[in-house]
């Protein structure tokens, strides 16, 4: 273990040295704390995901998840000396709890409703980042349009299975989940690595005023939060992309209609349909100007203009 810990942390390309750095770093967020929290949250997720376990066991998983979130939040508050503001912690905890419930709730309708909660909390985070237009667009598009579509499809494409007692039971594919352990391990290893990299390795990023950052700016000194300037930027620097976005939306609408179109098969027998309408002759039946044939009728001698 000593040899493992003494690996120099500068060789960050080597995964072993990254692991060593996690355990030895005097970091902003200590690596071992991140590892412990990720393990706690992974166990909680495994217990909380839909399965045939007892409801009490799943509640234990929920307690684990809440404990991990609260520990992470309190660590963050104490580390950052509360300079993030209380609204950041409120919104992010609401968003993350909602996200966990989206993943772990057995019923799809409730998952969709928790996703609406997550969307609202994310919009709050966007407002804290002075991106008001993004927050409004997120609420309108996600919570207003996409989620309505989801809820409609959930209602259309579900077959309620009611027992004799009248209570509806979950379908088998809702009540169980696949590969809980492997998926949680992969996800939380990724999460721990990302958090560690974010809090420890972001010092090498270009500063806001540097060459790389300034190269992208097109419209003067942009002040984030100015919706008017965002519109100016969109319609000058990104105008072609904006048109392409509209094209993609149109294409997807056409594609969705074509995919979901139901071919209506008429079940009534052939004989009960209306008799085949004879095509009227192109020429008049006789020389009378009142004898112009009428199309679409069974009687070819019917006149267009009744003789008065």
């Amino acid at each position: 273990m000593q040899a493992f810990l003494s690996i120099p942390t500068s060789l960050s390309a080597d995964p072993l040295s990254i692991l060593g750095a996690i355990f030895t770093t005097p970091a902003a967020v200590s690596g071992s704390v991140v590892v412990v929290l990720c393990v706690l949250a992974a166990v909680g997720t495994i217990l909380l995901l839909p399965s045939r376990l007892e409801i009490a066991v799943r509640r234990v998983g929920g307690v684990f998840m809440l404990a991990a979130l609260i520990i992470l939040g309190s660590l963050g508050i104490s580390h950052a000396e509360n300079q993030m503001g209380v609204y950041f912690w409120i919104f992010s905890i609401i968003a993350l709890v909602g996200a966990v419930r989206v993943v772990t709730h057995p019923q799809p309708v409730y998952a969709a409703l928790y996703f609406v909660l997550t969307v609202f909390a994310t919009a709050g985070l966007f407002i804290l980042m002075q991106a008001e237009f993004m927050a409004a667009a997120l609420v309108i598009i996600y919570a207003g349009a996409i989620l309505i579509t989801y809820v409609f499809v959930i209602m259309l494409a579900s077959n309620p299975q009611s027992t004799a007692a009248g209570e509806s039971t979950l379908a088998d594919y809702d009540a169980t989940s696949r590969d809980r352990v492997i998926a949680s391990a992969v996800g939380f290893v990724l999460m721990g690595t990302l958090i560690y990299v974010i809090f420890d390795k972001t010092d090498r990023m270009p500063e806001p005023g540097s060459q790389l950052a300034g190269a992208v700016t097109q419209v003067g000194a942009a002040v984030p939060g100015a919706t008017q300037e965002l519109g100016t930027y969109l319609f000058t620097a990104q105008s072609v992309n904006l048109e392409l976005a509209g094209l993609i939306l149109t294409l997807s609408m056409v594609g969705a209609i074509v995919i979901a179109r139901r071919h209506v098969i008429s079940t009534e027998p052939e004989l009960q349909r209306l008799p085949q309408v004879e095509i009227a002759p192109m020429t008049p039946v006789d020389d009378s100007p009142h004898s112009i044939p009428v199309y679409g009728t069974a009687n070819p001698r019917q006149k267009a203009y009744p003789e008065t």
Binding site: L49, F88, A137, I141, I146, R178, D179, M205, Q218
Partner: protein
């Protein structure tokens, strides 16, 4: 350094949300919930982009979030149309009902 601290916290929230969505996409068996989890991953990416947009003080990130929303809307409509089509064929939403597509 305070600016960097702000950025780090938002990036962490986005990363956690992305990973939760990833776990949900791998574990859930209902097709609709799987697509909900991809929307969750889109949310995490959008938080990242807006955080970088605020950090660097230009609108590139926010403009990209608009395009992410466009792609998410297209994906939702097409994917849900496919889900409805698949539901009509097998009368179930189980992703394992289409196991033979693994090849």
């Amino acid at each position: 350094m305070s600016e960097l601290s702000f950025l780090q916290h938002y990036l962490a929230v986005g990363a956690i949300m992305f990973c939760i969505g990833l776990i949900g996409f791998m574990t859930r068996r209902n097709l609709i919930v799987m697509f909900l989890c991809t929307e969750l991953m889109f949310q995490g990416v959008a938080i990242n982009l807006v955080a970088f947009s605020q950090y660097y003080g230009n609108f590139g990130g926010q403009a990209f979030v608009i395009f992410v929303l466009v792609i998410a809307a297209s994906e939702a409509s097409l994917a849900l149309a496919l889900v409805v089509l698949l539901f009509r064929h097998r009368n179930t939403l189980d992703a394992d009902a289409w196991k033979e597509l693994k090849g």
